[in-house]
C-alpha cells in the first residue's frame, strides 16, 4: 500500500500533476494552510469535496467569542485570512466579557454564512499559486527512507477518480468528514455535516502509514424559519457597531464592520423542555450507546446539560441569524441527537418558538481523527514525514481553532520544503501556542475547545495586543507586507509616545479636574498629579479625562485601548513578565532526541516510557506530558546538569 508503483499498474489511475504541497480539505484550516503555502511561494493544490461549500460554517454562524476571538486576532497578526474575511461578512459584532477584565475581552461576529463561503472561494480562485480542485483524496503515497520501513516520507496523493499527484508535502484538514455518520435518535446516516458526502478511505490510508486514529463526536442544533418565530417575547441582544475590525489589515485599509447590525435573541428553556427531554432519554443515542465517539464536554448537547447539571432547572438558548439573504435562525446551545420528532417538541417548548417551523433538524456527527500526540510541535506527523494535519482531524473543535492550526501547518510545511526551521509559538506567546502545545503534548480524548483558562499567561495574551506579540514573527515568516509592517510600527510608536506623554503631563488641581474626579467617584487630590497616575486608578478611564487633557492627540481606538491597559495593569503585567521568564527557563533547556530515558533510574517507569515514546523538544514540554511528574523533571534537570549535555545552541523558535 501507499506506493507510487501501483499508479502504473492500475489502468484507471493516471498521473495528474506535480505540486509542492497538497492541502486536503478546504474548510477553515485548509484555506489558511493553502494561503500560507501559496503566499510563501509554493505551488499548492487544494482539494475539496464540495466546491460550493468552501469555508463552510456548518454549526454556529459566528466567528470569535471567548478565547476564540483572541485566536482570530492572532491568526490575523501572523498574516492569516480568517479575520479579514470575517470582517467582510459580519452582520453583527460584539465584545464579550466586558465585565471580566481586558485580558479576556473577546470579540465575536455573527457571520453571513453564504457570504463568507462565497468570498473565500473567490479569493482562493484568484490566488496565483493555488489550484482549487473538487475531488476526494482516498489514498496517500509514500516511500521508505534509507531503506527503513519505519521512516516513511510522503510522495503523493490519489483522488477517488484515479488522479495521482506528485507532492513533497501534504496538509490534511478533513474536518468531521472522515468516515463520518450523522445520528438523530435511531436514524443513522453515513454522511458528512449538512447532508454532504463524506470522505471514505483516507483514514484507512493514514492508519496504514502508522498514524494512530481516534473516533470523536460532535453535534449541531436545529435551524428554524424566522417567519414562524415570535422574537418579541425574547431578550434582544443588539450588536456594537463601533467595534474595531478583527483584522489589523482591514483596520489599516479602513474596512469597518457593517453599521446596520442584525440582532440576536436569548431565551431560557422551560420546565416543559426538561420534561420532554427526560421523557425521551431512552431514545438518546448518547445514552443508549449507539454513539461510540467521545463528545465535547465544553459544548454539550442540551440533553447532556440537563443530565450532567441536575441542579440547574434551565439553560439559556441564543437565537442567531444565519445570514442576510435567509430566514434561517440557529439555536445556539440547543444541539441534540434525540430523534427528529422529539426535537419538534423540544423546540416548541421554548418561549417564542411555540410554532417554529424546523428547516434543518439537529444531529450528532461521529468522525475519524488522529491522536495529535503523534505530531510534533511543528504539526508534522512523526510517523509520516512531510504529512501535516490541522483542524478537527487533530481532535480540536471550532472554526478558529482549525484556522489557527491550518495557518501554522501551512507555514511549517512551506518552511520544511524551503529548508527553514519550523515556527513554533510557545505558551507565553500566543493562544495558538497553547492550543498546539496542548494537543501535541497532552493529547485530547474529546473535541478540544480553546478556553481562556487554558492559557497561563492570559494578562499578556490579549486580543488587543496580538499584533504586538506576533506581527514581527509574521513579517519574518513572510506573510506580512512591508506596508502593513510599517503601519504596525507606526502604531507601536504612537502607543509609546502617548504613554510617555501621559506620564510626563502633570495636572495642577483645578475645578474641572475636581469635577471629573468626583463624577468618577475617585478621591480628589490637592497637589498636582500626572495623567498616567489618574488612569492607573481603576475607576478612571482615558476617555474621562478629555476635558482636562488639552494636548491630547488624535489617536485610534486600539492605540488608546493599548495605552490604557498598559498603564492600568502595569503591576499585573510586571508580575506576568516574571512568570514568563521563569517559564522560559525550562523551555530553553532543549532535550536531544538521543537521551536514553529508559536508563535513567531516577525516572519513574511511566515517565521513562512516555519520554522514550514522545521525545519532547524541551524540558518545558516534557513537564507537560501526562505521566511525567515534577519529580521526574527535577531528575532530568540533575541528569542534564551532571551529563553536561545541555544543548543551549541557538535554535530560533520564532
Amino acid at each position: 500500500m501507499g506506493s507510487w508503483a501501483k499508479c502504473n499498474e492500475n489502468p484507471t489511475w493516471y498521473e495528474a500533476g506535480t505540486y509542492d504541497v497538497a492541502v486536503i480539505g478546504a474548510g477553515h484550516a485548509g484555506c489558511e494552510a493553502a494561503f500560507a503555502c501559496a503566499h510563501l511561494g509554493l505551488t499548492t493544490v487544494l482539494f475539496t469535496l464540495h466546491l460550493d461549500q468552501l469555508a463552510n460554517l456548518p454549526c454556529n454562524p459566528s466567528i470569535g467569542g471567548t478565547a476564540k476571538g483572541q485566536l482570530v486576532r492572532e491568526i490575523d497578526a501572523l498574516g492569516g485570512v480568517m479575520g479579514e474575511m470575517a470582517d467582510l461578512s459580519a452582520i453583527q459584532t460584539r465584545m464579550l466579557n466586558r465585565s471580566k477584565g481586558p485580558a479576556v475581552f473577546s470579540p465575536r461576529a455573527q457571520i453571513d454564512r453564504a457570504s463568507y463561503s462565497r468570498r473565500m472561494k473567490e479569493r482562493i480562485e484568484k490566488e496565483e499559486n493555488i489550484s482549487l480542485i473538487q475531488g476526494e483524496i482516498v489514498e496517500l503515497f509514500w516511500e521508505e527512507q534509507d531503506g527503513e520501513a519505519q521512516k516513511l516520507r510522503i510522495t503523493g496523493v490519489r483522488t477517488r477518480s484515479g488522479a495521482c499527484y506528485h507532492v513533497r508535502a501534504a496538509v490534511i484538514c478533513s474536518g468531521t468528514y472522515m468516515e463520518s455518520r450523522t445520528i438523530r435518535g435511531e436514524v443513522i446516516v453515513e454522511s458528512g455535516p449538512d447532508g454532504l458526502s463524506r470522505s471514505v478511505g483516507l483514514s484507512q490510508s493514514m492508519r496504514e502509514a502508522g498514524i494512530p486514529m481516534q473516533r470523536f463526536k460532535t453535534g449541531t442544533p436545529v435551524r428554524v424559519n424566522a417567519r414562524t418565530v415570535d422574537t418579541s417575547v425574547m431578550e434582544i441582544q443588539p450588536g456594537e457597531p463601533d467595534m474595531p475590525p478583527f483584522s489589523y489589515a482591514n483596520e489599516m485599509k479602513g474596512v469597518v464592520p457593517k453599521q446596520e447590525q442584525i440582532p440576536c435573541y436569548a431565551v431560557w428553556t422551560t420546565p416543559l423542555t426538561k420534561q420532554v427531554i427526560s421523557d425521551n432519554m431512552d431514545r438518546s443515542p448518547l445514552y443508549s450507546g449507539v454513539i461510540e465517539g467521545t463528545g465535547p464536554r465544553y459544548c454539550p448537547s442540551i440533553e447532556d446539560k440537563f443530565m450532567r447539571f441536575k441542579e440547574k432547572s434551565r439553560h439559556q438558548i441564543f437565537v442567531e441569524p444565519m445570514g442576510e439573504g435567509t430566514q434561517e435562525l440557529y439555536l445556539q446551545g440547543f444541539s441534540t441527537s434525540l430523534p427528529e420528532e422529539i426535537q419538534v417538541q423540544m423546540v416548541h417548548s421554548l418561549p417564542g418558538l411555540e410554532h417554529a417551523h424546523i428547516q434543518r433538524a439537529a444531529y450528532a456527527i461521529e468522525y475519524d481523527c488522529i491522536d495529535p500526540q503523534s505530531m510534533d510541535l511543528s504539526m508534522e506527523s512523526t510517523k509520516l514525514e512531510g504529512l501535516f494535519t490541522a483542524g478537527q482531524i487533530n481532535g480540536s473543535s471550532g472554526y478558529e481553532e482549525a484556522a489557527a492550526q491550518g495557518l501554522m501547518a501551512g507555514i511549517n510545511a512551506a518552511r520544511k520544503l524551503r529548508g527553514e526551521p519550523p515556527v513554533i509559538l510557545d505558551r507565553s506567546q500566543a493562544y495558538i501556542g497553547v492550543l498546539i502545545d496542548d494537543l501535541v503534548t497532552k493529547g485530547t480524548r474529546e473535541p478540544y475547545r480553546m478556553m481562556t483558562s487554558r492559557a497561563e499567561y492570559r494578562i499578556f495574551l490579549r486580543q488587543d495586543n496580538a499584533d504586538m506579540r506576533l506581527t514581527k514573527i509574521g513579517k519574518e515568516i513572510g506573510l506580512i507586507s512591508d506596508e502593513r509592517y510599517s503601519a504596525f510600527e507606526a502604531k507601536m510608536n504612537a502607543i509609546e509616545e502617548e504613554k510617555e506623554r501621559l506620564r510626563s503631563t502633570h495636572l495642577p488641581p483645578s475645578p474641572k479636574l475636581h469635577e471629573i474626579l468626583e463624577r468618577c467617584g475617585s478621591t480628589v487630590n490637592k497637589s498636582g498629579i500626572s495623567l498616567a497616575e489618574l488612569i492607573k486608578r481603576p475607576e478612571i478611564h482615558y476617555s474621562d479625562l478629555a476635558e482636562v487633557d488639552e494636548k491630547r492627540p488624535e489617536l485610534s481606538q486600539d492605540v488608546i485601548f493599548a495605552v490604557e491597559v498598559d498603564i492600568k495593569y502595569e503591576g499585573y503585567l510586571a508580575l506576568e513578565e516574571e512568570r514568563i521568564k521563569k517559564f522560559a527557563r525550562l523551555e530553553k533547556k532543549k532535550l536531544s532526541k538521543d537521551i536514553p530515558y529508559d536508563q535513567i533510574s531516577g525516572l519513574r517507569l511511566e515517565a521513562r516510557s512516555k519520554l522514550m515514546e514522545r521525545k519532547p523538544m524541551s524540558l518545558g514540554q516534557a513537564s507537560r506530558i501526562s505521566g511525567v511528574s515534577p519529580a521526574d523533571i527535577a531528575v532530568l534537570l540533575v541528569y542534564l546538569e551532571s551529563k553536561g549535555k545541555e544543548d543551549n545552541g541557538a535554535r530560533d523558535d520564532g
Binding site: S99, G101, P102, M451, E456, Y572, P630, A631, S642
Partner: protein, 477 residues
C-alpha cells in the same frame, strides 16, 4: 567502568569515630584491596562476599607498603538497598584527622575517586531514592546538631510539610477553578455572590497558612539558632559565663576591664535548643576607638537577640550599671531578658538579694518599659544557677508556641519566604474579591500564590532550585 567514589561522611574535626563512605559499582572490590577481614557475619571471607546490612571487623592497610593504618568496622550495602541505590561500603574508623586522610589516600590509590560535592545525595536522588524536598531536608539533617532540629528535619524528610502545603494548595485550587470558570462562561449568573463566598473560602485557607507560618518563629531557631546575648558592664563575668555555658575556653577570660573588645560567638545547644551564644563587649563610655566599635556592636547584638542575659556582678561599682539597665529594660518585649546576679561564689546570698531589690527600684525610677522575664543568682565557678538558665532558654523556645503533636514546622528559610509570599498574595486576592473587581486579576494573583506553594512541595520545578539545593551539599553527603 566508572570508578566508585568516596568521601568522609562525618564532619571534620576530632571525634571518637569517623565514617568513610564509598559507593558505586566495584566498591566492595576496591575495599577488599586495602582491607584484611578478620571476623564477619556468616562465612564471608571478603567484603565482596558479605551480604547487605552486615558488618565485618578487620584492618585497613596500605598495599604498597603493607603498613597497617587502622582497625575498622566495614558495613556492606548491596544494590539497590543503599542510600544511593548502588553497591556501597561504610568504613567506621578512629576519629583522628591523619587516620581518615590515610584511609582516603589508600582508597584513591586503589581504584576509587573522590566524590564531588553533594554527589551521594544527587545519586540517591537520581536513583529515585529521595525526591527534591527530601534532598533539601537531608541537608537540614546534616546541618542540625541539636535534637529538636533533627526531629523537624526528619519530619520534612518524611514529607509531612509537603503534604500539608499540598492540602492548602488544593483548597486554593477550588477557588481558582471557580474564578476560571466564571471567565470562560460568558453568561454565568451571580458573579458578586460567587466572589464573596470564594473570598470567605480563601480567608479560611489563609488562617491555616498563618498558623504554619507562625511555626517558623520556632522553626527558624532550629535552622538559624536562637541568639542568646550575654551583656553587662566590663568585668561582670560575661566571658566566664560564656565558657561555662559552652564548655570551651572560647573567650579569653581576664579581669582587666574591656578585655572583650568585639562580640564573640559560640555555637552550642542549651536545653536541647540550638543557640548562638554571643558575648558582647561591656557597654560603657570609652575613649579607646577600637573598644568603642565593640560597644556599638554589643548594642546591635542586643537588638537582634532572642534572649538577653544581663549580668550584674555584686562586687562592682553598681552605679556603672545604670546605663546598661536603661538599654536592656527598654528592649522590645519579644526579646526575653534574664537578669543574672553573677559571681555568687564571691558574695553572700543577702548581698545578692539586696542588689536585686536595688535594681528593681531603679527600674521603677527610670520608668523602664519592661521588666526582666527571669531572675537567677549564678556562679560560673560553682555552676550554681546554670541549669536554671538552660531551662529559661528552653521555656523561651517553647513559648514561641508550636503544636508539637502535629509535628509540622517550617525550619527552612526558603520555605518560609515562599509561604509568606503566598500568604501576602492571598491577602491581595481576598481584597480584590471583596471589592468585587473582575475575576481576571484575583485569578492571576491566586495562580502565582499556588506557584509559590508548588516550589515548596516540588510540584513546580525550577532549575534554580535544583542548583541551589545540590550546591549546598558538602562532600560526602
Amino acid at each position: 567502568m566508572e570508578k566508585p567514589y568516596c568521601a568522609c561522611a562525618t564532619p571534620p574535626g576530632i571525634s571518637g569515630i569517623a565514617v568513610i563512605r564509598m559507593a558505586g559499582e566495584g566498591s566492595a572490590e576496591v575495599c577488599d584491596r586495602v582491607f584484611s577481614l578478620k571476623r564477619a557475619f556468616s562465612e564471608a571471607k571478603s567484603v565482596k562476599e558479605m551480604s547487605g546490612y552486615t558488618v565485618a571487623y578487620g584492618l585497613i592497610h596500605d598495599p604498597a607498603s603493607s603498613e597497617i593504618i587502622d582497625e575498622v568496622l566495614v558495613t556492606r550495602f548491596c544494590a539497590p538497598h543503599s542510600y544511593t541505590g548502588e553497591d556501597s561500603v561504610e568504613i567506621s574508623c578512629h576519629g583522628g584527622v591523619t587516620v581518615r586522610q590515610e584511609i582516603l589516600r589508600v582508597l584513591l590509590e586503589n581504584g576509587a575517586r573522590m566524590a564531588e560535592p553533594g554527589e551521594f545525595t544527587r545519586r540517591a536522588f537520581m536513583a529515585g531514592k529521595i525526591d527534591l524536598s527530601q534532598a533539601e531536608a537531608v541537608m537540614d539533617v546534616i546541618a542540625s546538631d541539636s535534637e529538636l532540629a533533627l526531629r523537624a528535619a526528619e519530619s520534612q524528610l518524611q514529607g509531612t510539610l509537603r503534604s500539608q502545603i499540598r492540602k492548602i494548595s488544593e483548597e486554593l485550587y477550588v477557588t481558582f477553578a471557580a474564578l476560571e470558570m466564571l471567565i470562560d462562561e460568558p453568561d454565568d449568573e451571580d458573579a458578586a455572590a460567587m466572589f464573596s463566598s470564594n473570598a470567605d473560602a480563601l480567608a479560611a485557607v489563609r488562617e491555616k497558612m498563618q498558623s504554619l507560618i507562625n511555626t517558623y518563629r520556632q522553626g527558624r531557631i532550629l535552622s538559624e539558632r536562637m541568639s542568646v546575648v550575654i551583656c553587662g558592664i566590663p568585668n561582670s563575668g560575661k566571658s566566664s559565663l560564656l565558657n561555662c555555658l559552652s564548655g570551651y575556653d572560647r573567650a579569653i577570660v581576664t579581669n582587666v576591664p574591656g578585655t572583650t573588645r568585639d562580640t564573640l560567638e559560640v555555637v552550642t545547644s542549651m536545653g536541647g535548643v540550638p543557640v548562638r551564644l554571643i558575648d558582647t563587649a561591656g557597654i560603657r563610655r570609652t575613649e579607646d576607638p577600637v573598644e568603642a566599635i565593640g560597644v556599638s556592636r554589643a548594642e546591635d547584638a542586643l537588638w537582634e537577640a532572642d534572649i538577653v542575659l544581663w549580668l550584674v556582678s555584686s562586687e562592682e561599682d553598681y552605679e556603672q550599671n545604670i546605663e546598661m539597665l536603661t538599654t536592656v529594660m527598654n528592649l522590645p518585649s519579644e526579646t526575653k531578658v534574664g537578669l543574672l546576679i553573677s559571681k555568687s561564689d564571691c558574695t553572700s546570698k543577702e548581698a545578692c538579694e539586696a542588689l536585686h531589690e536595688k535594681i528593681l527600684s531603679d527600674m521603677k525610677e527610670k520608668e523602664c518599659k519592661r521588666s526582666a522575664d527571669y531572675y537567677e543568682v549564678i556562679s560560673s565557678v560553682s555552676r550554681e544557677g546554670i541549669e536554671g538558665i538552660e531551662k529559661f532558654v528552653r521555656e523561651t523556645y517553647e513559648s514561641l508556641g508550636t503544636d508539637h503533636a502535629r509535628g509540622v514546622m517550617l525550619t527552612n528559610q526558603r520555605h518560609y519566604a515562599l509561604l509568606t509570599s503566598a500568604a501576602e498574595k492571598l491577602d491581595r486576592c481576598i481584597g480584590l474579591l471583596r471589592s468585587g473587581s473582575s475575576p481576571e486579576e484575583p485569578s492571576l494573583i491566586l495562580r502565582t500564590a499556588m506557584e509559590d506553594l508548588g516550589e515548596i512541595t516540588g510540584d513546580s520545578v525550577s532549575d534554580a532550585l535544583v542548583q541551589t539545593i545540590f550546591s549546598r551539599f558538602c562532600v560526602g553527603k
